[in-house]
């Protein structure tokens, strides 16, 4: 467990253990003082074994969620770290020249580093080496090429784990000392990409030795040591020295820390300091693995935040369930408790007695919760492992003991706290009412003034009223809270503080508290007035008027208070900003508090007014004549038991709400990742010539026809694209000026629209085919993707905002640009294209992009007033020119590509369209080819065949699905885990409904008997309980769905995840939400089976037999 989750268990473990031990000691002390209470409390535990099992199950769920969240988070963190480790092998630190130029330096600096670290127990090895990046490797035997390969030469004698290589097939140690100067070793990635075998003839090319080719023989495949999973080859030092012309020098020193490759990261800082002190300024020390791990974790931090949010909601749900269970448990024993009060026990005794019982359940439940949380974590990881195996994502269940201790202590303490709250609530009873199990009558209370007087008197004359002074103060506090005085005062104070600090969360809490206080105060005032008037006007009936007026006032107050809270927290996070007030700031606490407030506000408003809400339902169901008597009774019970229904509804709504929020966040954060075929636009293979151009589609087909006609026959579609560095201006647009945007001249199947779906076409074009025909045949007609449109135009087209274009995509081909094998930087020899030689005017300003590609967003074009309506645009003229110079020309946009769910970017036109501006200029980027294989053909085999056939061109092929899975796998994996975890909260909802339903059966046993006597069939009684449970399920699902969507809308509207990743927009996964709602309602129906079964077993004569 670490920074992915927002708190560190290592920091929490000590205070939590101390708190748990203290609480346990207090309970033991209390038990020693009051052994009779302890005895009664404990004897209740084994009284009804089944019920005890149910209580423990309910209590353990909160702990289960915390433990499983911690376990899963630990697993995710380990996996994410492992990715970094896999990429870097055993290298922890790297010494090279400042600026990372990889220029050589003297070998003696290697000795210097070794000397400085000699005897350091945290260092496992030092290896001076020669490194050459971005080597182009051609396997002549396998007839495959691969660019971007790392070539390494290292002395294999003294590097410790850095030079501890092993044979990739047998696992046997592999020594570099036997490697000859004409041999190379490959790592597994290089072998797989080149389809290489031992004995193959290998050619090496590089910008470092232009015009030369070096020939080697593959001596084998090794793994381990300083080799990670990036494609790499190992050579002897003399070989690489000869090729790089670095004689008697090195250009990098690698350091391996002690540990297993991952645990040593913690020593990096210390080692960095030691090494830096021993080296001259021109050499730098980089903690590459620590940086890589941090970068990886930061990249996945979004999921850590989501997991934290989920855990908070799940924990709240669990605690709510505990409150409900314990309230029902005590309600069941109300008569018993009334009796013990009658024989002289105090309220505090009752609380202690219940607390002993609760603590016993709690201790067991927390333990079981941790165990089940771990089990749940293992189960989820086991379930998703097969799914993610295809990503090559390293996954190993990982759990830190500190995390489990924290889970146990948190679960135990919070559960006990909730039990204490529940016992405090239920121990308030009128003994006579409790003894007869009658509803609690309203307690007459002295007014606030009288209480204040009593409390102050207690202070002034403690000798007279010492026994009651504390009670008077407690009652005064309670009265000032329930009448709204304290909440109003606290709210106003919070508001004042929030405005001073400009704190959004504090402001919102202050306003909410003030709202609660204001409504309660108004209620108390109006009620007092009404009762006073009633006493004057009709003293005889005032006793009846008072409870009715109170009931109505309660309803109205709940509606205004709850509705107000729900509405306020449903406001967009920046709604109050226009009034100059603090806006809701992003952050997990904000989202959590907003969610809780919305759900509880809505439930507070609805629960007391459920009878009114259900009137239309009752009327509707009343038309079913056969079941009229059933529905009329079934719909009244939930409205009558407001508190219990309210808690059940809050719990179930919160469950559905959490599921909806998580589903929306997961869908929105992974929308561009989890549908791999869609991301690849249906293409299977991408390729680019690294030696010399193929010559377009015709050249490619000729080449294939000559060497491998069967490969050509197995291809369904071939497309090609060549990036063009384009400047664009939209004449007539407000603030028109030169902007930039990705652009490619396309040919082949692209010009038929294959893989390029249109979201809109220009007026006058009756079909997509007509648009593509024009693009193909009319020079000057182009299409552009939706990212190039302004927000207003995207909205007019009724499209979802696509992810903004990024720098690699600006330079690359239209599909999957920037990925390995499709990186224009790789094709361009890792050098920034020279776009400083600009044409006149505005173009010069864009020259700065060459130095800083991140500025692309500032210069990106956003076409305006082009959209006419859904699916239609106006044919729009643009001026375009090559950023490197040359003439400018006018083009006409006649179609918009839908890239809501894909990564297709660019202004796309035929070669004839771009010919005028490209005249006299060198090709800017490479030729990129995309292939779609025929159904049934093996893409991997066809890729190898393509590479082999076009070896002379150095044709590098990439399986799009593989590379997309490699890049996106972790996110998809984490998203799957989250969805699995979230689904489990439904269990809590089911447990709550089952528990309340069972309790209702017990409570209404006699009523059930009466109903049966009156003519209700067994099935009718069962149907009543079924309807009640279903009602809560449907209402909960509806509330959860509505409020969840509102919260998600607010979260994404303010770009809540902006600190981690930008450009996320809300994707509402309607299909998943429909499944969630259906599952929630089905769960409520399933949960009803327990009470339904119990109710069905009640014999009328038994039920009617009174004690």
């Amino acid at each position: 467990m670490n920074s992915v989750f927002e708190f560190s268990p290592a920091a929490l473990v000590t205070p939590l253990v101390i708190a748990t031990v203290l609480v346990a000691l207090m309970l033991i002390w209390q038990g020693w003082r009051s052994p009779h209470l302890l005895r009664i409390g404990l004897r209740n535990v084994p009284r009804r074994k089944l019920r005890t099992a149910l209580v423990v199950f309910g209590l353990m769920l909160a702990t289960t969620f915390v433990a499983s969240a911690i376990a899963i988070d630990d697993t995710i963190v380990l996996a994410v770290k492992s990715v970094a480790v896999y990429n870097l092998g055993r290298i922890d630190e790297q010494v090279d020249r400042q600026g990372g130029s990889m220029a050589p330096f003297s070998e003696h600096f290697g000795d210097q580093v070794s000397d400085s670290l000699a005897g350091n127990p945290h260092v496992a090895g030092v290896a001076p080496a020669l490194l050459q990046q971005n080597v182009l490797v051609a396997d002549q035997t396998a007839r495959q090429v691969r660019g971007g390969v790392t070539a390494l030469a290292v002395d294999g004698t003294d590097g410790g784990p850095l030079t501890a290589f092993s044979n990739a097939t047998t696992g046997a140690p592999a020594s570099l000392t036997t490697l000859r100067d004409n041999q190379i070793l490959l790592n597994r990635s290089a072998r797989d990409l080149l389809n290489a075998h031992t004995g193959d003839t290998i050619y090496l090319y590089s910008d470092r030795w232009p015009g030369q080719r070096y020939t080697f023989t593959a001596a084998g495949v090794v793994t381990g040591g300083l080799l990670g999973e990036t494609p790499s080859i190992l050579l002897t030092i003399p070989s690489l020295s000869r090729m790089t012309r670095i004689e008697n020098g090195i250009n990098v020193i690698y350091i391996a820390n002690a540990g297993n490759g991952l645990t040593g990261v913690s020593y990096s800082e210390e080692i960095e300091d030691t090494v830096r002190a021993s080296l001259p300024d021109f050499l730098s020390v980089r903690t590459v693995k620590a940086d890589g791990v941090e970068l990886s974790i930061r990249a996945e931090d979004i999921f850590g935040r989501i997991l934290t949010l989920f855990t908070l909601f799940a924990f709240a749900i669990g605690l709510l369930l505990i409150f409900l269970i314990f309230s029902l448990l005590a309600a069941e024993r109300r008569a018993e408790l009334g009796m013990v009060r009658a024989v002289g026990m105090r309220r505090s005794h009752i609380m202690v007695m219940l607390l002993f019982e609760g603590a016993t359940y709690d201790a067991v439940a927390a333990f079981l919760g941790v165990a089940s949380g771990l089990g749940l974590g293992v189960l989820i990881v086991a379930l998703v492992s097969p799914v993610i195996a295809q990503f090559g994502f390293p996954l190993q269940f990982n759990i830190q003991p500190a995390g489990m201790i924290v889970a146990y202590c948190m679960g135990a303490l919070f559960t006990l706290g909730t039990v204490l709250l529940a016992t405090w609530n239920i121990s308030r009873m009128t003994v006579a009412a409790a003894l007869r199990d009658l509803p609690e009558p309203p307690t007459p209370r002295p007014g606030i003034v009288a209480l204040a007087h009593r409390a102050v008197t207690g202070l002034v004359h403690p000798q007279r009223t010492s026994a009651n002074a504390l009670t008077a103060w407690a009652m005064l506090l309670e009265s000032t809270i329930t009448t709204g005085i304290v909440p109003l005062a606290a709210g106003l104070w919070l508001l004042n503080t929030a405005i001073d600090r400009f704190d959004g969360l504090l402001f919102a809490l202050g306003l909410s508290s003030a709202l609660i206080g204001g409504v309660l105060l108004l209620r108390a005032f109006i009620l007092a007035l009404v009762i006073r008037i009633a006493r004057r006007i009709a003293p005889a009936s005032s006793a009846l008027i008072a409870p009715r007026a109170t009931a109505r006032a309660d309803r109205l107050a709940a509606l205004v208070l709850g509705g107000g809270l729900a509405l306020y927290w449903s406001l967009p996070f920046d709604a109050l900003q226009s009034l100059g007030l603090p806006r809701f700031t992003g952050g997990i606490p904000m989202v959590f508090v907003a969610g809780m407030m919305m759900v509880f506000g809505a439930v507070i408003a609805l629960a007391p007014n459920l009878d009114l809400l259900l009137m239309p339902v009752s009327w509707l169901l009343g038309h079913i004549r056969r079941l009229r008597h059933v529905t009329s009774v079934a719909l009244i019970y939930p409205a009558f038991h407001r508190f219990r229904t309210g808690i059940g509804l809050a719990l179930f709504s919160l469950v559905c709400f959490t599921m909806v929020v998580m589903a929306c966040i997961a869908a929105s954060t992974t929308r561009n990742y989890d549908n791999v075929p869609q991301q690849a636009s249906g293409y299977d293979i991408a390729g680019q010539p690294l030696f010399r151009p193929v010559g377009g589609i015709n050249g490619l087909k000729q080449g294939l026809n000559a060497s491998s006609p069967s490969t050509l026959a197995s291809l369904d579609a071939i497309s090609t694209a060549t990036p063009v560095p384009l400047g664009i201006i939209q004449p007539g647009a407000p603030n028109a000026g030169w902007r930039v945007y990705p652009a490619s001249q396309i040919a082949g199947a692209f010009l038929d629209g294959t893989g390029l779906p249109l979201a809109a076409r220009a007026a006058g074009y009756t079909s997509d085919a007509a648009v593509w025909h024009a693009v193909k045949t009319q020079p000057g007609d182009v299409v552009i993707d939706a990212s190039a449109l302004s927000d207003a135009d995207i909205a007019t087209l009724d499209l979802k905002a696509p992810t903004p274009v990024s720098a690699p995509q600006f330079l690359g081909p239209p599909i999957a640009a920037g990925l390995p094998g499709l990186s224009s930087l790789e094709a361009l020899g890792n050098s920034t294209p020279n776009i400083t030689a600009m044409p006149q005017g505005g173009f010069s300003a864009i020259a700065s992009l060459a130095a800083d590609p991140s500025l692309v967003q500032n210069y990106r074009i956003q076409l305006q007033r082009i959209a006419l309506g859904r699916g239609m645009i106006a044919p729009t003229s643009l001026w375009i020119g090559d950023l490197r110079g040359g003439s400018v020309m006018k083009v006409r946009v006649i179609g918009v590509i839908d890239n809501t769910h894909t990564h297709i970017y660019g202004l796309l036109g035929s070669p004839a369209t771009f010919a005028p501006i490209e005249q006299g200029l060198q090709p800017f980027g490479n030729e990129y080819y995309y292939f779609k294989v025929r159904p049934g053909a093996d893409a991997h085999a066809e890729a190898l065949a393509l590479g082999s056939s076009l070896l002379e061109n150095g044709f590098e092929t990439t399986i799009l699905q593989d590379v997309l899975l490699d890049v996106n796998g972790p996110r998809v994996f984490i998203s799957r885990i989250l969805v699995g975890l979230v689904g489990l909260t439904l269990l809590v909802g089911m447990a709550a409904l089952a528990v309340t339903g069972s309790r209702a059966v017990v409570e209404r046993r006699q009523q059930i008997g009466m109903l049966r006597a009156l003519g209700f069939r067994r099935a009718h009684v069962q149907l009543m309980f079924f309807i009640e449970s279903l009602l809560v399920g449907i209402l909960g699902a509806a509330l959860g769905l509505l409020l969840g969507l509102v919260l998600c809308r607010n979260v994404f509207a303010v770009d809540f995840f902006a600190s981690i990743t930008t450009g996320l927009t809300l994707i509402v996964p309607w299909r998943e939400l429909a499944i969630i709602c259906a599952a929630a309602i089905a769960a409520s129906a399933l949960a009803a089976l327990v009470p339904v079964w119990q109710a069905g077993r009640i014999a009328p004569a038994d039920a009617l037999r009174y004690e």
């Binding site: 009229r628 008597h629 009466m1010 009156l1014 003519g1015 209700f1016 004569a1101 037999r1105």
Partner: protein, 243 residues
């Protein structure tokens, strides 16, 4: 016996064909944790239409068990019970339930009103069970509440009524579907003497005016004295029948 003479002799006693309840050699044993407790032993009786019969006896003698068995709320181990010519043992649970709804009304010591329903809703419930139209059910429930003198309390929930008022609502509910027979189990057990007297007067009046059969389980002698006939039970058997 002075009160007794205020009532006319029921028709059923003079015309055995007007018998509504017949029990023949009814026995029932409760079995709990392996212990057998005989509740009824060879009980035979006949109750005529329009009769008001009191079943009396000490606690635990089997009065309530007999009433439950006669009403079809409980099953018997041996013997036969027929009500209005229908043998209860031959009916399935559902049929017996429907039969109860059509033919019987119930009054209990603890009223057993549904706390979630108002007085009016409680009274109309049996009519809804019989699938009466809601409008008609409501009208008849109002009439019945009026008959028991509680028209002004129709919107009150049971918790807002006194014990006597609750039992009057329970009587209205028992009679609203015009049942052939009303079973009352300690109907005055939870009432003070004044309220008990009111309730019994009401039941007697309704028995007289509507010619409905009342079977009342009680251990109060003054209540039994208002009945046409008293069946005295002891140890699960009827020991004595007094007119």
């Amino acid at each position: 016996m002075a009160l007794h003479h205020q009532h006319p002799t029921p028709m059923a006693l003079k015309h055995p064909d007007q018998v509504i309840v017949v029990a023949q050699d009814v026995s029932k044993v409760y079995r709990t944790h392996g212990i057998e407790v005989p509740a009824l032993a060879d009980v035979s009786l006949k109750i005529g239409r329009g009769e008001m019969v009191a079943i009396m006896g000490p606690s635990g003698c089997g009065k309530t068990t007999l009433l439950n068995c006669l009403a079809g709320l409980d099953t018997v181990d041996q013997g036969q019970i027929s009500v209005a010519g229908h043998t209860l043992a031959t009916m399935r649970d559902g049929e017996r339930t429907d039969f109860r709804a059509r033919t019987m009304g119930f009054i209990f010591q603890s009223f057993n009103l549904l706390p979630v329903l108002t007085a009016l809703e409680n009274v109309e419930l049996p009519l809804l069970v019989l699938r009466e139209k809601p409008r008609i059910a409501r009208r008849r429930a109002r009439e019945m509440l009026e008959a028991v003198g509680l028209a002004h309390r129709e919107r009150h929930h049971p918790a807002e009524l006194s014990g006597g008022q609750r039992q009057r609502v329970a009587i209205a509910r028992a009679l609203v579907n015009n049942p052939a027979i009303v079973w009352a189990d300690e109907p005055t057990g939870n009432l003070d003497s004044e309220a008990a007297d009111e309730v019994m007067s009401l039941m007697s009046e309704l028995n007289r005016s509507r010619r409905q059969t009342f079977v009342i389980v009680t251990h109060a002698a003054d209540i039994g004295a208002r009945a046409h006939r008293i069946l005295t039970m002891r140890d699960g058997t009827i020991r004595q029948q007094d007119d």
